[in-house]
Symmetry: C2
Subunit: 346 residues, 2 copies
DNA sequence: GCCGCTTGTCAAACCGATTCGAACCGTGCT
DNA sequence: AGCACGGTTCGAATCGGTTTGACAAGCGGC
């Protein structure tokens, strides 16, 4: 097959015996109607020539690029896409966008990178909208959002909520009620000494999970004992192990532990096993996130599932919607609910 | 600040008192020189107007989009980006591309999706080159590569090697020698009964690791005992646990295990602990891949590191290079070497 | 038979850059 | 003075689409 030049809309128009404009109408369902018989001819010509419109020419004139950017405001110097967690979100994003004929361009912000290259991207007209994953809390993320607002690119934030004033749409998880429900579940099973392995309390996510834990205790009339809360400095599993050890050494050790994420829970489980405790008989254990690892450990981890793929889907929907809307009406925050997945560890 | 229209090269030209062509010369270091003093004027105008060239206009004319596609030929219905593994590659890719002023557009192929949408993408002129992650073996991947070859988009494959006839460049890991070295390490430490928890032997990666294991035994004069090889059906950790149990039940159980990846190794470690074996005293354990999880278990996992980020970097380099080369000279396969990371488990 | 309206089509302008061929300019050489 | 020349600059064409404004045809209503 002779890779002959390249096929443009003019070729199609010529073969179909119509003007180039009509080709455009047929391809995009233009503002004017096209006679069915004409459309048929054009379609056949497209088929025959194997015509595929040039995305850049089209984007240039129509100002619609069919591309959404995915920016990760990262805080982890080692791994930009914090593995299974991020993968879930990415899966949802790409699936949704693909089904709508959009593409995803990813742009991780390296630690200490500065915003100038991102500005370049935002102002280059490549993107119809941008989805930003916010892992840090509001004041920290403001320069980034400020820039996006200034460039005028529609923006949807996921996870943390952006400062109100930007008026960006956002989607997050209901961490607090997830933690609350998990704790209530443990209390209902008769546990009275329930501990919490907290995440890095610098981040809203970790704080919300701690809050949910406390609220469940309060609602059940179980006094809060601060010695039962460990961690809080970091998401580092080795700290979790040390914390778990302290919990076990308590005069009245806990009979159940709610960890702030699965990784912490798995680390704790490892220690429990090595120390000869049985899970869940001696100590019940609940994780958070429901990453794939949770199913792979033995016993499989009971955990609070956060709908990772779902947040990706929803963000993509809002992003496309935002890019197609003319007036940039302010969008509200959506909160996705979590679900307790009962497995073997509690 | 009045979001005044949008700034184009003409505005810059007008302000600087030159023709639009000169603006282009200055921005891209055109083929013609520009007088230093003129360039200075243009630069000042660009600065003052905060001019950013439109990527689509530029791409249309210059036929260079500064975008690389990342296609994952996936086989996992649940998780398109198999978590930590994929994240490492993605990190390398994005970092390298960013440093060269390129962007990454990701396109996961869902299971059973067909190739027509991908063809759309490839023929739309959005991509300067494409990086394809091949997880399946050659005959399976041919339709995909056939399509890419037909569209003429330069292509670099990572992990598995593409069929020779395409002439695509590729980068992979030296799985065999990694497994060999790990096994030799165990043998040198005095282990004589060394077992292997194999991955899914449908895939070349798993087979190469098994080969390396066998080769090390042969080189050391240790007879191969097929009862010491478990798994092989899948990468499923629960199979690994069953396999490990069978190994322990052997009349002469192994004193060391080489797992085909970290996830399998961690599962095995869990079982060992629950059964009261100490790692590494009773059974030494080596994983493969060095995903973040390997450092989080206790004892931390000794493992064969494959340079995940590195493969991303290299693939990005080759992709950019391939897109800038005129003649599409065939590129050879590169193999990245692995490294044994000694931690606590062996 | 004329008017106004809708429907379908077309030619031309436009999007915002790059690139080509030609013009311009000051110098050095004959 | 005339000319060739290399370095700059310019105007215009071009990339491949979309969108606008005009126009012709068809049609029902008066």
């Amino acid at each position: 097959m002779p890779r002959s030049k390249r096929v443009t809309h003019r070729d199609v128009a010529r073969l179909a015996g119509v003007s180039p404009a009509v080709v455009s109408y047929v391809v995009n369902g233009g503002p004017r109607g096209v006679a069915p018989e004409t459309a048929e001819r054009v379609l056949r010509a497209i088929e025959e020539l194997d015509y595929h419109p040039n995305a850049f020419a089209r984007g240039l004139r129509a100002r619609r690029t069919h591309t959404v950017g995915y920016v990760v405001d990262d805080f982890n110097p080692l791994d930009v896409f914090i593995s299974p967690y991020s993968a879930g979100i990415l899966t949802g994003l790409t699936a949704e966008l693909k089904s709508r004929g959009y593409y995803l361009l990813i742009y991780p912000i390296a630690i200490g990178e500065g915003l100038s290259r991102l500005e370049e991207l935002l102002r280059s007209g490549r993107l119809d909208a941008v989805v930003v994953r916010l892992v840090q809390d509001p004041p920290e993320t403001d320069p980034l959002l400020e820039l996006i607002a200034d460039t005028g690119v529609p923006c949807i934030c996921i996870e943390q909520a952006p400062s109100e004033r930007f008026g960006f749409g956002s989607v997050g998880f209901d961490d607090e009620s997830g933690a609350r429900r998990a704790t209530l579940y443990l209390l209902q099973r008769g546990h009275r000494r329930v501990a919490h392995l907290a995440g890095d309390l610098k981040y809203a996510t970790a704080r919300a999970r701690l809050e949910g834990y406390k609220r469940a205790l309060a609602e059940s009339g179980v006094p809060f004992d601060e010695r039962l809360v460990e961690g809080g400095q970091d998401w580092d599993p080795s700290l979790a192990i040390a914390g778990t050890r302290r919990l076990l050494d308590l005069p009245e050790p806990p009979t159940a532990i709610l960890a702030a994420n699965d990784s912490l829970a798995v680390s704790a489980m490892g220690l429990l096993h090595r120390e000869g405790y049985r899970v869940p008989e001696d100590v019940a254990l609940i994780g958070f996130d429901d990453v794939p690892l949770a199913q792979e450990v033995d016993p499989p981890l009971t955990t609070v599932r956060i709908p990772l793929a779902e947040i990706g889907h929803r963000a993509a929907q809002l992003a496309v919607q935002g890019s197609e809307a003319d007036g940039d009406r302010r969008q509200p925050r959506e909160v996705l609910s979590t679900e307790l997945v009962r497995r073997g560890s509690a």
